[in-house]
Symmetry: C2
Subunit: 115 residues, 2 copies
C-alpha cells in the first residue's frame, strides 16, 4: 500500500511550488537525511533568522516538515507521512548528494548549540 490516494494535478502544482524556492528545496534535502534546528539553518544558509523561520513555516504549513521542540530549540525533520512524500522524493532524487551548494551547506554545519 504505497498511498491512499493520488494527488490531483492542482495539488501537485501546489507542492511543486512550495519546493520551487532554492532555499526550501535544500532545506528539504537536508531534513530528508536528519533533523536540524533553526539556528543551524541560519548558519548554513547564511540567511537571517526570520527568513529561515518563514521558509520553515511554509514547509510546515504544507505538511512537508515536522517540528519537535527540545529545550530551547525547535528541530525540523521531513514528514515522511506527508501526502506529498511521492513528489518530494521524486524531486529530491534529482539532487545529487554531490551537489556543490548542498556540500557547501553540509560543510558549514555546526553543532546545535549555536551560541
Amino acid at each position: 500500500m504505497n498511498h491512499t490516494h493520488r494527488l490531483s494535478s492542482e495539488e501537485i502544482a501546489t507542492y511543486v511550488k512550495v519546493m520551487s524556492d532554492p532555499t526550501r528545496l535544500l532545506i528539504i534535502k537536508l531534513v530528508s537525511k536528519k533533523e536540524y534546528c533553526v539556528c543551524q539553518f541560519v548558519d548554513m544558509f547564511e540567511m537571517s533568522q526570520p527568513s529561515i523561520s518563514q521558509h520553515l513555516k511554509k514547509l510546515k504549513s504544507f505538511g512537508l516538515v515536522e517540528e519537535t521542540r527540545r529545550g530551547q530549540w525547535r528541530f525540523y525533520s521531513l514528514n515522511t507521512a506527508s501526502d506529498a512524500i511521492g513528489i518530494v522524493h521524486a524531486i529530491m532524487n534529482q539532487i545529487s548528494d554531490q551537489d556543490e551548494r548542498y556540500i557547501e551547506l553540509i560543510n558549514k554545519e555546526r553543532p546545535v548549540d549555536c551560541g
Copy 2:
C-alpha cells in the same frame, strides 16, 4: 548515457518553479503525449490567447518545449533533449493519466482548425 551532467540544485529549483504553475504543469503533461497548437490550448484551458502564449513562451525560453511552425499554426511539443528532461519526467510521473483536470482538458480537445 543517461545525461551529460547533473543539474545543480539551483537549476533544479528554477525548473521546478517553471513547472509550479497548474496551467504550465498540464501543458507539459499534454505535450509529453503529442503536439498541440496554441488555439487548442486556448480551447482546452478556456484561457485567453495571450495568457496561453505567455505560458508557452516561458516553457520555450527554459527549453522545456519546442515550437514548430506549420501553415498558420505553431505547434508545441516536449523537448525531449532538454537538460531538464529528468525533472520533467519525475514530476510528470506524479500526475495520473486519470487526473480529473487532465481528463477534462483532453475531452475539450478540438481539431487543429479551431475556427
